[in-house]
């Protein structure tokens, strides 16, 4: 495998599905559930390989998560997926009570997060799920930004004893990491070191924007660190504090409401441990709407230019 091949974009959903098949080959307890979005999640390959271990329960997300709870209570490791809006908003109580409060081991997946919903528009555009999920006691909440991190973190989630929530971009994404790069849930990755300002980003849309913002800042002589905070909960406090000590301020970057998502999580760490100026790039108390990804990036100011602008505000403050 040459470097060129490695850097080709790959569908994140295919990586998700292939990872599950790989896990299921060695662990007979891995099962999947879908709610009539198996085509969207690309888990048909799992169903083909393990027809008895794939349950497509129809358009019934609440029922899906209850069934996942029952399967977990039978010793299974269920991965249950739907669009982010349905996995979180629609089936929240089922995930909260039947899966989490019950102390079970269900891996929930929300696909097409935030503006990735594109043409499905405002009804399907979920900017709230990280906030909802951060409020579930003990839940591990993560959003990988590229194909290698999907593969690695899904494996980590499968091995974790307890519920997890995976926020999954489905579409083709160019790798940032090399295949085989190691990841730990709860440990952010420093993509680029820097001494002036720290850009903390999450997800397949905002991590690349943060890297591009760092390039913009570099052209102005500003040294910006970029952190991929793939795990929102538990947040990597040590890493945030370390960069609070070495840089003058922070910009958080998320395809999510700034309330209760990454920006809030970082703000909580900073306020409690090491106060520093912080600006949050994300959705500002708005609903979603329809459009292309590029249109929506501009509409909600989820761009490298916005991040760089906010970084300058931090440094001038």
């Amino acid at each position: 495998m040459g470097a060129t091949t490695e850097m080709e974009p790959k569908e994140m959903r295919v990586v998700y599905a292939e990872t599950l098949v790989r896990l299921a080959e060695v662990n007979p307890d891995v099962v999947i559930l879908e709610a009539d979005l198996m085509k969207a999640s690309a888990t048909g390959i799992f169903q083909k390989r393990f027809p008895d271990r794939a349950f497509n329960v129809g358009v019934a997300e609440a029922n899906m998560l209850g069934i996942a709870a029952g399967l977990s209570a039978s010793g299974k490791i269920p991965f249950a997926a739907s669009f982010t809006c349905f996995s979180s908003r629609r089936a929240y109580d089922q995930f909260f009570i039947s899966c989490n409060y019950s102390g079970l081991n269900v891996k929930l997946v929300g696909t097409d997060p935030g503006i990735a919903a594109e043409y499905n528009g405002g009804t399907h555009m979920c900017f709230e799920d990280l906030g909802l999920m951060r409020n579930v006691p003990g839940l591990v909440v993560f959003e990988p930004c590229d194909p290698p991190s999907v593969a690695a973190l899904v494996e980590r989630a499968a091995a974790h004893k307890g519920c997890t929530y995976l926020r999954l971009h489905r579409k083709p994404i160019r790798p940032i990491y090399r295949d085989g790069e190691s990841f730990e849930l709860g440990k952010g990755k420093v993509i680029r070191d820097g001494g002036d300002v720290t850009l903390i980003a999450v997800g397949a849309i905002m991590v690349p924007e943060a890297i591009a913002a760092a390039d913009l800042l570099k052209a102005d002589g500003v040294s910006a660190a970029v952190i991929d905070m793939h795990t929102i909960k538990p947040i990597d406090r040590e890493l945030v504090v370390a960069f609070a000590r070495k840089t003058r301020g922070f910009v958080t970057c998320e395809n999510h409401q700034v309330v209760n998502g990454l920006g809030s999580a970082v703000a909580e760490v900073l306020c409690e441990a090491c106060p520093r100026p912080l600006r949050r790039v994300g959705i500002r108390d708005e609903f979603g709407e329809v459009g292309t990804l590029d249109y929506l990036k501009g509409r909600y100011r989820l761009t490298a230019a916005t991040i760089a602008e906010e970084a300058r505000v931090v440094l001038e403050g």
């Binding site: 329960v57 129809g58 029922n63 399967l71 209570a73 039978s74 299974k76």
Partner: protein, 277 residues
């Protein structure tokens, strides 16, 4: 066919479980007495005649399981589990006290013998489906029994599950609907009329029966028939009396969650003990 001696044994057991449940509520002073007392007979026939369980191994994979989807009836089930030896009977007097292992609603993390956490209505239905599918994957011969409420059946999740269990041909899932005809705010027919539930279950593809839920012979026949099913999940709609056996609760639409002081409990227990079984 269940014999007269067996019926008498079950009647005495049911009476004792009612007494223990009333005593626990009386000790606390309040509780979901209506829906706890209406399921005493079905719990009795399941735990003392049909279910394969071992209190010494509460997590044994091959056991039969019960999902009390109407989780607020937990105190009735606690009386059974204590009597079976899953935990000491003294625990019954800790019902709902801070730090207890016996909360109002069933909690699998806290209470030995509880197979699924329930209380948010409708959710036990789906969990029971998951347990049945899990048994199928594990090659476990166990049955999954499930008790849902009539008010609970207002929840959409019940009917998502109804469609799903029939789709997956879950013959090892045997459900009971506690049709005591009352929900919190009044009679079911006034609040949300479920009408003739067995017709709905049959229409969803279940083997549906309707019996007197306080009649052991009728319950036993229905369970035996359900066990014979080789494709469909079963639903046994039980006509019951909410608050059955507590003079102050029967026919009182306010009995869903009500004050039960020690004197009320003692008088109800005295009357139960006077009955000739």
């Amino acid at each position: 066919m269940i014999g007269d001696d067996e019926i008498r044994r079950l009647k005495i057991k049911a009476r004792d479980l009612r007494v223990a449940t009333l005593d626990a509520f009386g000790h606390l002073g309040v509780g979901h007495i209506g829906g706890a007392l209406s399921v005493i007979e079905v719990l009795t026939i399941l735990y003392y005649r049909h279910m394969k369980i071992d209190p010494g191994q509460p997590r044994l994979a091959e056991r039969d399981k019960l999902v009390l989807s109407k989780g607020h009836a937990g105190p009735a089930l606690y009386s059974v589990l204590a009597d079976k030896g899953f935990f000491p009977k003294e625990w019954l007097h800790t019902l709902n006290r801070g730090g207890t292992s016996l909360p109002s609603h069933c909690d699998m993390r806290r209470t030995p013998g509880i197979d699924m956490t329930t209380g948010s209505l409708g959710q036990g239905m789906s969990a029971a489906i998951g347990l049945t599918l899990g048994n199928r994957l594990n090659g476990s011969p166990g049955k999954v029994y499930m008790i849902i409420g009539d008010g609970e059946s207002n929840e959409g999740q019940i009917w998502e599950g109804a469609m799903c269990a029939a789709h997956y041909r879950l013959r090892d899932l045997i459900g009971f609907m506690d049709y005591n005809h009352m929900q919190i705010d009044g009679y079911c027919r006034d609040i949300m009329n479920i009408d003739v539930p067995e017709e709905k279950w049959a229409a969803f593809g279940w083997f549906a029966q309707r019996v007197d839920g306080h009649d052991f012979a009728a319950l036993d026949r229905a369970i035996e028939r359900a066990k014979q099913e080789d494709v469909r999940p079963s639903m046994i709609v039980m006509d019951t009396v909410k608050g059955k056996g507590a003079f102050f609760a029967e026919n009182n639409v306010g009995n869903h969650n009500m004050k039960v002081d020690e004197a009320m409990a003692a008088e109800a227990i005295r009357r139960l003990m006077e009955e000739v079984l």
